[in-house]
């Protein structure tokens, strides 16, 4: 296995109201290609801050972060934007689709910033939406889609640039139980196809769909182990 992501003594401090907060306080871990990792922890445990740093949305205060063999601390804002565009796909709790914009145009957004031409953007967006079972909903705007459909559009958007890692922050937080299971099923299928998945969640049963569970508390990793009784979507 190759290390896709490796952190060494990663630290992130904030100053809030004149008080120094150690949001992430010395995290060293390694995630290999093809893993399916669930990151758990109470709110304020530092799991989201850690997630934002490995997603190159936020920069560490100290420590190193190697992503696909690149030391991200050496990159400027344009290079980080390119990493986010090419290597990482994001899925958010609130879906974060552009309002008044069709599903197809939403999915094509990352390709704009990748400099892909319009005809090819369209073609690739259609392929991703069809793979998500949304071939009949491509012209709909988010307001005309259910929560589950919106999240599937968001997953199609995350995958459209063929990233190495999919980062999902509470992807089922705004969905009902059945739809949540559907989404986890999609994630497992994608993982079977070889994509690396990192899912942040506070729901223990959602974490059971992953293969590895990392638990955060007070900015540190307190547990990192394989999921003992892994669930498969579609199984009771």
């Amino acid at each position: 296995m190759t290390a896709l992501l490796e952190t060494h003594d990663l630290v992130k401090n904030y100053t809030i109201g004149g008080e120094l907060v150690h949001a992430v306080n010395g995290v060293s871990l390694r995630i290999d290609q093809g893993e399916f990792v669930a990151i758990m922890g109470a709110s304020g445990s530092g799991k989201s801050t850690f997630m934002n740093m490995i997603g190159c949305l936020d920069v560490p205060t100290s420590g190193t972060l190697m992503l696909d063999g690149i030391d991200t601390s050496t990159l400027d804002s344009d290079e980080l934007a390119e990493i986010r565009n090419r290597k990482i796909g994001f899925v958010f709790q609130q879906f974060n689709l552009l309002a008044r914009t069709s599903a197809i145009d939403n999915v094509a957004v990352p390709l704009i910033y990748a400099g892909v031409r319009p005809a090819e953007r369209r073609q690739r967006a259609i392929a991703r939406l069809e793979a998500m079972g949304l071939g009949h909903r491509m012209q709909n705007t988010p307001a005309k889609l259910s929560g589950g459909q919106q999240q599937r559009v968001a997953i199609a958007r995350a995958l459209v640039t063929d990233p190495l890692i999919l980062l999902a922050d509470e992807p089922t937080g705004a969905l009902d139980t059945q739809t949540s299971l559907d989404i986890m099923g999609i994630f497992q299928k994608l993982n079977d196809e070889g994509i690396t998945l990192i899912v942040v969640t506070h729901e223990p049963d959602i974490a059971e769909y992953a293969a590895r569970r990392i638990v955060f508390r007070d900015g540190k990793v307190i547990e990192d182990a394989a999921v003992s009784s892994r669930r498969r979507a579609g199984e009771p």
Binding site: L57, D78, A81, F90, R100, Y113, A114, G115
Partner: protein, 416 residues
């Protein structure tokens, strides 16, 4: 090549994003555009009116004749108000001397003016009678559209003939060819021998409201002036070969007249020589200042429009902070975000500019009809208007756009 296509498609995407955003807040977009529209409208109209003034002045100068000097028996301005004793005399013999002695002079035409009343049948007209010689036509670019001009023999024999302007003809004759008709001018019968080519009017001054008669006839039959010598004239028109002799002629004429009237050294010259070149230059400067002032005043409204753009773009950036964060997460570089908002501001301004330009064209056309004053808007002005609106957009949209591009992706994503 593919980079270029990629860049172009990036811009077209930004234009599409801009239109979506502007449509979303349609009322706000329209009101913001209104500011730019009014600004561009007033600047373009100011430019048009200024251009019109310039065209009008150029036309007026062309009607004077191309290389011509006018000699007036008054001391030059700039020495305080004229005193009664300042006014000198000028005679036909002075004109003859100028024609003989000043280099480059083609011809000299004296001029004597008086107000007259013309009557034919039951109709009458009050106008200016200009007494001159056959040379007047060629020097001052006057030609007849019908009939003939006064001749040397008309002047020699003091015949009672008149060449009349179009306005005068319109007042006196309906459905009758004026040529050959007998008109009473201050009760003296005259024969109309020609119709002056119409020169239109400049700035309210009708060039067609005059008649031309031989100077000898005017002096004997029409002049009401008293206390004048037998060959005194109001002014002299001097026609020159070219611009070079005209420029030198100014000094030559003054020197000659000082000599003829024995003006001692140190005393001011009691004559003013104005050349068409000077008149053109002075008028050009005046109209340029006039135009600059107009444009400066109009620019203030454009500035206000630009500030409106900046204000609304700042609001737009604040409202769409989350969208900016999302776009950054999906791979937008700072320059992509900056360009997106720049294009939005430019689109607002170009739409406003285009509408403002159209309204200015309509207003200029109406102005031209109503005020009989040219206000041309050329392609260059139109292109300038559009380009200038885009520049306003970029200038006033620049700060909000840069502010948007400097947002931290994670803080932008977290904002509500």
């Amino acid at each position: 090549m593919s980079d270029l296509l990629g860049a172009l498609s990036g811009w077209s995407v930004n234009v599409a994003i801009a239109f979506t955003a502007l449509r979303t807040n349609l009322m706000r977009s329209i009101l913001t555009t209104l500011g730019v529209m009014i600004g561009v409208f007033s600047v373009i109209l100011a430019v048009a009116v200024g251009n019109g003034a310039q065209v009008s002045v150029t036309q007026q100068i062309a009607t004077l004749g191309s290389n011509m000097a006018i000699v007036v028996p008054e001391p030059e301005r700039g020495n305080g108000p004229p005193r009664p004793g300042d006014r000198g005399r000028l005679t036909e013999r002075d004109g003859e001397a100028i024609a003989r002695q000043v280099p480059g002079v083609i011809a000299v035409a004296p001029q004597l003016r008086t107000s007259v009343q013309m009557v034919i049948g039951g109709r009458s007209a009050n106008t200016q009678a200009v007494g001159s010689t056959e040379a007047f036509g060629s020097i001052s670019n006057l030609d007849t559209s019908d009939g003939r001009f006064i001749t040397r023999s008309d002047v020699g024999a003091a015949t009672r003939v008149a060449v009349i302007g179009q306005t005068v003809a319109d007042k006196l004759f309906v459905d009758v060819n004026p040529i050959g008709q007998t008109v009473r001018i201050n009760r003296v019968p005259f024969t109309v021998i020609g119709l002056l080519e119409s020169k239109g009017s400049n700035l309210g001054n009708d060039n067609d409201d005059q008649i031309i008669v031989p100077i000898t006839t005017l002096r004997q039959r029409l002049s009401t002036a008293t206390g004048q010598g037998p060959d005194d004239v109001t002014l002299l028109f001097v026609g020159f070969e070219d611009e070079e002799t005209l420029v030198a002629g100014d000094r030559e004429i003054k020197a000659l007249l000082r000599d003829r009237y024995r003006v001692s050294k140190g005393k001011i010259t009691p004559f003013t020589v104005r050349t068409t070149k000077e008149i053109a230059e002075t008028s050009g400067q005046v109209t340029q200042i006039f135009q600059a002032v107009l444009v400066a005043i109009a620019s203030i409204s454009l500035l206000v429009g630009g500030i409106g753009i900046m204000n609304i773009m700042l609001v737009s950036v604040t409202e769409r902070t989350r969208e900016i964060g999302l776009r950054m997460a999906l791979g937008a570089k700072r320059s992509d975000i900056r360009n997106q908002f720049l294009v939005e501001a430019a689109v607002l301004c170009i739409i406003g500019g285009a509408i403002g330009l159209l309204l200015a064209m309509v207003a200029a056309a109406i102005f031209q009809q109503v005020a009989d004053f040219p206000a041309p808007i050329g392609w260059d002005t139109a292109l300038f208007a559009i380009a200038f609106s885009a520049v306003i957009g970029l200038a006033f949209g620049g700060y909000p756009a840069i502010r948007a591009s400097r947002l931290s992706p994670i803080e932008a994503l977290r904002s509500e």
